[in-house]
Amino acid sequence: MGLAIVLSLFVAPEDADQGVSQRIFYIHVPIALTAYFCFGLGAWKALLLLWRGSERYDLESYVAIHQGTIFGSLTLITGAIWAKASWGVWWTWSSNQLVLFLVLFLFYCAYFMLRFSLEEGPRRARSSAVYALFGVVLIPVSFLAIRLAEDFIHPTVFTREGPQMTATMFAAFCVTWAAVTLLAYVLYRVELVGKRLDADLRELREALR
């Protein structure tokens, strides 16, 4: 992560168009991609739960979606700061990419409302899994919205001709992406271990009562 920050802030050349504010790109885009990945992972685990019926996928799906909402909020915050620096506004409703990402984020925020409104058990696991699977439809829509709508406000960096940046910029982006993905993976594992330990302890307390 340290290398990624050094590359992003000091090594990568300054963008001729946006100036120094373009450096937010190196943290904003990897975080957004990680958020998409976490939501996708949560949906995949939900599918496995419905398919195989193993309860462990419920917790894995929940933790992945929890990670997704954390990275989703970071995406919205860093995006708002970048928008203020580049466009002069914190938010614009005219950008489909922003609005669809917000919809995706709010959809998965509602996942927690559904989950915690039901009693613990197989019914809650199945309902949460079905909801998580519905949300996965929004991921490609949100991801591709900018290309489908030809939105000129939100910049498109990755086109069919490849990344529209220099090799150093692209290297900084890739290192940051790898670092953020690794961070997300570590946080996912740690949270999952904590949740499993919590469940095991509860069961143990029941057994000893």
């Binding site: 920050i5 802030l9 100036g19 120094v20 504010s21 450096r23 937010i24 943290i27 904003h28 975080i31 954390i70 909020s73 970071l74 915050i77 860093t78 700061i81 970048w82 203020k84 620096a85 961070l183 946080l187 740690v190 949270e191 904590g194 330990l197 919590d198 302890l201 143990l204 307390r205 029941e206 057994a207 000893l208 009562r209």
Partner: protein, 68 residues
């Protein structure tokens, strides 16, 4: 605010939020460790009898070897 300050704010927000998340997880793990220790102390003190036997796996191979 200058553009440099916006960049610092963006990276700072990420750092602070990840730090807060790590602190929350660490506090939770510390709580779990405390609960594990409490349970262990209860078991050692013998103050719990409960339904532990219901959860115990059946002992296999306990035969009558050596008798008679």
């Amino acid at each position: 605010m200058t553009q440099g300050q916006y960049v610092a704010a963006a990276y700072g927000v990420v750092f602070v939020l990840v730090l807060v998340y790590v602190v929350i997880i660490a506090a939770k793990l510390a709580r779990l460790q405390r609960q594990t220790t409490e349970l262990l102390e209860l078991v050692r003190a013998g103050s719990v009898t409960g339904r532990a036997s219901e959860y115990a796996e059946p002992v296999r191979g306990a035969g009558t070897r050596g008798r008679g």
